[in-house]
């Protein structure tokens, strides 16, 4: 029987038996994002841009962060809540040639890890941050998050959210990220292309992927995918529209942090001798 082409990058079984199917609820966008990321990584490996050993996947805590060490057949780390970017910085310092991909959710990135989030982009460290934004805290029961849209109903805002949502792309862009893009799980090819571009770039890249949580939103996955398509507009047509803009927010190369750090080391080593 023919198997899914990306299963070669996943651990189907481990010491305690089979690991697949994924732990995610039926129709969860997190599995789709993993699929898109593996397609992008597969395309980079096939084109000879990097080897499988050059990739490291780091994640924090949350639904989206369950993806790394349990399933991925890559070097990976399932680390502490909100601090995935801090640990990714350490991994990068140990070996600046690695391609580091950080899987994070909206709660992990914007709420508990908000400070690490902005400072990673300010430093412009060479990581690719893939943020799955479903607009609520999925793992703990669908509570309101900083990324919940205004008026959205969650388990702790049954009459609608009175707060405005964080725009993570604008936040990353103003913090100093080199590459920022937003897509949704309903735009598979565009998302794969953006992830591939982000991994190949030097510097901090941020990709926000709007994703569905069919369990807490109490809708079918297909309805949510259709809604994601309907609620977004390409960024070039976003002027005056109330919809969420999707596309590339910025692509401005800046000097990368580890390169500048290595330059300092070289300068000081030269002074010593």
């Amino acid at each position: 029987m023919l198997k899914h082409p990306m299963l070669k990058y996943l651990k189907e079984s481990g010491p305690h038996g089979t690991r697949l199917p994924l732990i995610m609820c039926p129709g969860c966008g997190v599995g789709q994002v993993l699929n898109y990321t593996l397609h992008a990584v597969d395309s980079i490996i096939k084109e000879g841009g990097a080897n499988k050993e050059d990739f490291v996947f780091i994640s924090g805590v949350g639904c989206s962060s369950r993806l790394t060490s349990h399933y991925l057949n890559f070097d990976s780390g399932w680390t502490i809540h909100g601090r995935a970017l801090a640990i990714a910085t350490g991994v990068l310092l140990a070996n600046p040639d690695l391609n580091i991909v950080v899987f994070t959710g909206d709660g992990d990135a914007a709420a508990i890890g908000g400070n690490h989030f902005i400072h990673a982009f300010r430093r412009n460290i060479n990581v690719t941050v893939i943020c799955m934004n479903n607009g609520l805290y999925g793992m703990t029961g669908g509570q309101v998050a900083p990324t919940t849209l205004s008026q959205a109903v969650t388990s702790t805002t049954p009459y609608g959210n009175i707060e405005d949502a964080f725009d993570l792309c604008r936040l990353a862009q103003s913090s100093g990220a080199s590459y920022v893009a937003r897509w949704t799980t309903a735009h598979p090819h565009k998302t794969i292309k953006a992830i591939k571009k982000a991994i190949c770039k030097k510097g901090a890249a941020f990709i926000e992927i709007l994703s569905q949580c069919p369990v807490h939103k109490k809708q079918t996955p297909v309805d949510m995918i259709r809604a994601l398509k309907a609620m977004t507009v390409p960024i070039k047509n976003a002027e005056g529209s109330s919809k969420i803009p999707v596309g590339e927010f910025c692509d401005t190369p800046r000097p990368e942090w580890t390169q500048k750090y290595e330059a300092i080391i070289e300068k000081c080593a030269g002074r010593k001798s």
Binding site: M1, L2, K3, H4, P5, M6, L7, L10, L20, P21, L22, M24, C25, P26, G27, C28, G29, V30, G31, Q32, L34, N35, Y36, H39, T185, P188, H189, I192, P214, T220, P221, V222, I225, R226
Partner: protein
């Protein structure tokens, strides 16, 4: 004719593949799987052009399409 394989162990019946298929090759099955999910079912393999969008959108890595058209 291409062969399309759906893993009954991995599929959770989200039916995103049925929605995404541009040629409407897949349809919703009338039976329920051993795990209690309504799985997708291949209705017409003749129409499949092997674009592989079902493989890309699948959250559970459950579907696979033969890339080579063996009949031609």
């Amino acid at each position: 004719m291409r062969k399309i394989f759906i893993s009954t162990d991995y599929c959770k019946g989200c039916l995103i593949c049925v929605e995404s298929c541009p040629k409407k090759v897949l349809k919703i099955s009338s039976s329920i799987s051993a795990k209690g999910y309504t799985l997708p079912q291949v209705s017409d393999t003749e129409k499949c052009n092997g674009c592989g969008i079902c493989e890309i959108v699948c959250p559970d890595f459950a579907i696979a399409v033969e890339k080579e058209d063996k009949a031609v």
